[in-house]
Amino acid sequence: MLVEKSIKDLEQAILNYNIESAKYSAKKILDEGIDTAAAIKAATKAIREIGEKFHKGILFLPHLVMAGDAMMAASKILEEGISKEKRERLNKGNIVIGTVQGDIHNIGKNIVATMLKSEGFVVYDLGEDVPIERFIEKAKEIDADIIAASSLMTMTMPVLKELIEELERKDLGNKFKVMIGGGSITQEWANEIGADGYGRDGPEAAEVAKRILGA
């Protein structure tokens, strides 16, 4: 019964967007020697519930962001309890994420990064104003499965196209999948420039990443 309680507390903490309480429950789970993978699974379930409520219009963006932050804080603690081998087994894929050069907007990109992490992807966030070269270098370095690039402004939309063209030129088009998103981006633009996926918000981006990799 004790086992269930700590995990349930963690779930509740995320559903209540409570970062401190999520951290406390995560630490307790570690101390009690409870199966951390089960805890992460429960936390993921909670974050999905928040995501669904967001899509139904019951909850709003700030709830999604705060629940995501609570989830992240808990996962960071729980991961300490998982062996490196097991962590690798649980990894759904490596993703390099960033906002393209010329654009320094980061809110949407950060939400997507959080949602991807909570779904079990290992995410390398390059920040904002990221040159195309830097995306590609990092993707090679960590053997990424997906490059996720964001552009909020119509001004920087063409950079996404350049990124895909540069990958083709370097013959890396098949090696890295490209996901795009951001305020001015549409599915139509994604199709036009040949991106592998587009997500209109954080939860959808996570679904798209899973679909692309068949995870």
Binding site: F54, G57, F60, L61, P62, G102, I104, H105, I107, G108, I111, D129, M153, T154, M155, T156, M157, P158, G183, S184, D201
Partner: protein, 484 residues
């Protein structure tokens, strides 16, 4: 009598926002990614953390800078009838010429905006009397069929050809800013260094909320400031996302950004004209999308007008935008409410008529429909004139109970001054409306656009000027496009 400005803040509340802003400027600071601006601010006494590109600006520096900006200035058009005298009283409208998407006039479907659209939209805007300060295709980062690197140059040429009004420039980066200024100087027939005396170009610089100035736009801003060309510093915060969810907190972030921009401009070249501008609104928390037609956008405009009046600077607002994807009732009320609020508050330069879908899309029909709303707004601004002649007690007495006023000279004399005649709106009887084809406003607007495109002929550019502009476009292509 001229109407009293619409207000949403008390004088004390304005001072509270001003004080909060000075606190943010001094304690939190603002990030500027452009080295020249950092150096200028440092030399003027601001605290600059070069590693983090963070600037903390002392109150006195901001307050002195704001005082250096003029209260009034004139923008000169190719046709002097279209010169625009900016001051703290007048209200002007500026439609949006190009966004990445446009609703096709014939098919009604959304597609990419081309250079031909830019020419046609410019033409329509030039023909419509209430549009004095149109946006130009120059500011479009992407025009379908044109390489992005040279889109500004092609758009400038085509806008200059098709419009008798002022052609706005871009400050996207230093080179593009210089290109626009150079092309404007050809039209003015003077050296670039002389252009500031009779500016025929101006630009908009948008800080990136919260509290950041991008490298490209800031370097472009400096180019305009060097020549003393008017700059609209417009902050675009989204309450709840890139600024506090509270409108007061958002106004503080906005004010911090605008005052920083104005300080940079005045340090580069004291006396350079500026607009104190807003494009701020809320983020819709259900969709994570900017809500530019929200009533809160109207409130931001009102507060911005009040703050600009407090600093004695001309203001720029953003109204007539909508989240609707089509010209429906939502588009109508969002446009009308925001336009009316901005104008009644005394915003001097109101931008965004002609747009749909949070300004991702423009529409020909919207351009002429919004113009009609602007006409109604102008009438509202004129207010009610009360004097002996308008009170008309003598006339009331001579007509007397049971009489009629239609056949009175007084009616004819005052009619056009007192009543606004909408051009497109239907006020006919149902029978007449049916006889005329029972047309929806959108159809009427389409007909009007086609009529303007067929009939309106802008004053042509002088041959020599056009040749020189074409030569510059070629030079820019050569510089930017390696394949040439």
């Amino acid at each position: 009598m001229k109407i009293e400005y619409l207000k949403t803040l008390s004088n004390n509340e304005i001072r509270d926002i001003h004080q909060a802003t000075l606190e943010v400027l001094e304690r939190t600071g603002i990030r500027i990614y452009e080295s020249t601006a950092l150096k200028i601010l440092k030399d003027a006494g601001a605290y600059v953390d070069e590693k983090n590109k963070l600037v903390k600006i002392p109150s006195h520096l901001v307050e002195e800078s704001v005082k250096k900006a003029p209260k009034e200035f004139t923008l000169f058009a190719r046709n002097p009838e279209n010169n625009v005298e900016i001051d703290l009283e007048k209200v002007y409208f500026g439609p949006i010429i190009g966004r990445i998407n446009i609703i096709d006039l014939d098919t009604g479907k959304k597609r990419r905006t081309t250079l031909t659209d830019v020419a046609n939209l410019t033409k329509v805007a030039s023909a419509l009397e209430y549009y004095k300060l149109p946006h130009s295709g120059v500011q479009m980062p992407h025009i379908e069929g044109v390489a992005d690197e040279v889109a500004h140059a092609h758009a400038y040429l085509i806008s200059a050809k098709n419009s008798e009004k002022i052609v706005k420039g871009t400050c996207r980066d230093k080179a593009k800013a210089q290109d626009c200024i150079r092309m404007a100087s050809v039209i003015a027939g003077c050296d670039v260094e002389e252009l500031g005396k009779k500016p025929n170009i101006f630009t908009t610089c948008n800080p990136i909320a919260p509290l950041q100035f991008q490298e490209g736009q800031t370097s472009g801003l400096i180019e305009y400031a060097k020549q003393g060309l008017p700059i609209d510093i417009t902050s675009e915060v989204q309450a709840g996302a890139t600024a506090p969810v509270t409108l007061a907190g958002s106004l503080t972030v906005q004010n911090t950004e605008i005052l920083t921009g104005i300080t940079i401009v005045q340090l580069v070249n004291p006396g350079t004209p500026v607009f104190y501008g807003t494009a701020s609104t809320i983020m819709d928390m259900r969709h994570g999308i900017i809500a530019k037609g929200a009533v809160e956008a109207g409130l931001f405009n009102v507060a911005t007008a009040q703050l600009a009046q407090f600093y004695e600077l001309p203001s720029r607002g953003t109204a007539s935008d909508t989240e609707s994807k089509v010209l429906d009732i939502q588009a109508g009320y969002e446009k009308a409410i925001t336009l009316l609020m901005a104008a009644l508050a005394g915003i001097n330069y109101i931008w965004y008529p002609g747009t749909l879908e949070y300004a991702l899309t423009v529409s020909y029909e919207s351009l002429v429909i919004d113009h009609e709303i602007c006409g109604m707004v102008y009438r509202a601004l004129k207010g009610i004139n009360v004097n002996d002649s308008t009170l008309a007690t003598k006339l009331i007495s001579s007509v007397g109970p049971g009489g009629q006023f239609l056949g009175q000279k007084h009616t004819i004399d005052h009619l056009e001054d007192e009543h606004y005649f909408p051009k497109l709106s239907d006020r006919s009887s149902r029978n007449d409306w049916e006889a005329a084809g029972a047309k929806d406003l959108r159809e009427v607007a389409r007909d009007e656009v086609r009529k303007i495109l067929k009939e309106y002929q802008p004053m042509p550019l002088e041959n020599q000027v056009e040749c020189e502009l074409k030569k510059i476009v070629k030079e820019i292509e050569k510089r930017e496009l390696k394949s040439l």
